[in-house]
Amino acid sequence: MVFLNYLINGISLGSIYAIIALGYTMVYGIAKMLNFAHGDVIMVGSYICFFAVSTYQLPTVVGILLAMAVCTVLGVVIEGLAYKPLRQAGSLAVLITAIGVSYFLQNAAQRLWSSNPKIFPPIVPREWSISLFNGQLSISVLTIITIAVCIVIMLALTFFTGKTKMGKAMRACSEDKAAAQLMGINVNRTISMTFAIGSALAAIAGVLLCSAYQTLVPTTGSMPGIKAFTAAVFGGIGSIPGALLGGLLLGVIEILAGGYISTQLQNAIVFAVLIVVLLVKPAGLLGKAVREKV
């Protein structure tokens, strides 16, 4: 029973990582850049939802929608101001710019909203739970919602990339930008769209994350950001099912390692597993191995 409990918590945490990892993986797939500011977009989304719900007493759903709207705009603005001028530059330059954006968001949040931790109101009361097996196993409603949201997002995204015109344009751009442009696809708009979707997902992930962990500070997003990035690599960066698989595995491993081995070494174990996986499958679990050509 204890194991099952850990497993469910792991899947719940993993679902959050998976949603964040989707943002990383989509942006990487299309723009070939590591968007280090993604974790901080999560934080901004959480703050927006926090203020909407706590300060302005708006319903939770409105708070989440508002957070998604603000994050979408933020994602597109960041892309347009900071990354677009560097489209032709090397990936390291873009990486450093992304780090600059990350610093900027964190410090702006600290300036605007102070670094005092905020107590985040959960989307459903934390006490709500379902008891199974005569009360031996209790699953909180929040956990179920988190997992359900993750599944819905995955299905929607699979449909979007597979069936819609914009989704197909995205896949075309990630295959070959020049060829996509020749086929009449507006590459710049497609990239902006990718950032918009990734950032909207980040807002949802932020709300779920803060509902589970209660506290909200300007650096809330950085560690989950790094972990989700790891999850994206774990599953094979650029692959959407890979992000889901990587996120879930990472969450489960993290909770199990914390439960059975040591909470102090939790992160070390997660990263050690990542290293072992990459040594066996150098392109991640579901990543495509690219053969070198001379």
Partner: protein
């Protein structure tokens, strides 16, 4: 002047780098000796960290700029160097009384420990490439941080005591705790000095320039520019990348010792992902493979947050904006072309082709 112009480009850059470091050192030392208030209390306190970060930037530049592999975990080597070196220095406190000698021994020890670790890490890391290699170095940095946070080390009459996760050491009388888990290291004596930092920077420059301008260095750069071509002419790519990685780890370890012994207390979480990124920022801003660029960027960006103190809370915001603007200004083709044309007017000579660096 004519002689200077006839030099090879790489030689000129080397002479310039040495001159830059030595002149900066002499000026700062003169100010500290003859001017009231020296170089100001802010800069005074930053002198040794600046030296440590310069060496870190040079070490990382060897990996990122010369060897062409992105490392996101270099703070891990700094951490190992800081902890190993400081523990060694505290343990030697009784036997070696001359503090510069003790510092030198500690740095050598820190460098060796970091180099051994660098070797062990490079075996799995260098099997990967590109972003996957970067994420593995990030993972190693985080693992080193987690492990060092949980190490307890002490020494007494009966020898060395070690415990992991929980402090189970029972010390005899006169025993000294060297590393105290999450509490880090407490230095009773801060034996690092600016002169030692300056010497370490010179050593790092000498090591790197000699490595780069040797047969080995050319092999490393060949492996960077075209792995397959290098392999086909008989260069063992893994071996040469490993040499660069281990040398870099050793220098980072020595820099860590220098930094650690300049602080009264420090903890393992100081050397986290953000520190690794900070050093990468120095390297990229200074220019990949450009050593004097690394020196200037490391020094300037270490002072900048202190110099912006008058903006108090806004300073990190300004820092972030400066970082973004500099990256855009130096990498956007339009802006670069504009500055390039201005530069050409002054130089009259067409700009030489820049030393190839990875993108």
């Amino acid at each position: 002047m004519k002689k200077l112009r006839q030099m090879k480009r790489s030689t000129r850059s080397r002479v310039f780098t040495y001159a830059l470091v030595i002149v900066a050192f002499v000026v700062i030392q003169l100010l500290r000796t003859f001017k009231d208030g020296g170089v100001g209390s802010v800069l005074e306190g930053q002198l040794i960290p600046i030296c440590a970060y310069i060496v870190m930037a040079l070490a990382l530049n060897l990996v990122v700029g010369i060897s062409g592999e992105l490392s996101l975990g270099h703070a891990g080597f700094m951490s190992i160097g800081a902890f190993a070196g400081s523990a060694f220095a505290i343990a030697l406190q009784g036997s070696v009384t001359l503090s510069p000698l003790r510092l030198a021994l500690a740095m050598v020890f820190g460098a060796i420990v970091a180099a051994v670790l660098g070797f062990l890490i490079s075996v799995p890391v260098l099997r990967l490439n590109g972003d996957y290699l970067a994420i593995v170095t990030l993972a190693f940095g985080e693992i080193i941080k987690s492990i060092v946070t949980n190490i307890y080390l002490a020494v007494d009459g009966r020898g060395l005591h070690f415990s992991f996760l929980n402090d189970t050491i029972e010390l005899a009388d006169g025993g000294v705790e060297l590393i105290k888990g999450p509490m880090g290291v407490m230095n009773t004596q801060r034996i690092s000095s600016f002169v030692a930092g300056f010497v370490l920077v010179l050593i790092a420059l000498t090591v790197i320039f000699n490595l780069v301008n040797s047969r080995t260095g050319r092999a490393i750069m060949a492996a960077r520019d075209n792995r397959i071509a290098a392999e086909s002419v008989g260069i063992s790519v893994t071996k040469y990348k490993m040499i660069a990685f281990v040398v870099s780890a050793a220098l980072a370890g020595a820099a860590g010792t220098l930094y650690g012994l300049s602080q009264t207390t420090f903890v393992a979480t100081k050397f986290d992902f953000n520190t690794s990124i900070l050093i990468l920022v120095f390297v990229v801003l200074g220019g990949l493979g450009n050593m004097w660029g690394s020196v200037i960027a490391a020094a300037a960006l270490t002072i900048l947050p202190e110099a912006l103190r008058q903006f108090s809370e806004l300073r990190m915001l300004v820092y972030a904006i400066v970082l973004i603007l500099v990256m855009i200004a130096t990498n956007n083709p339009t802006i670069r072309g504009f500055f390039g044309r201005i530069g050409d007017k002054f130089r009259r000579r067409a700009p030489e082709e820049k030393g190839g660096a990875v993108q």
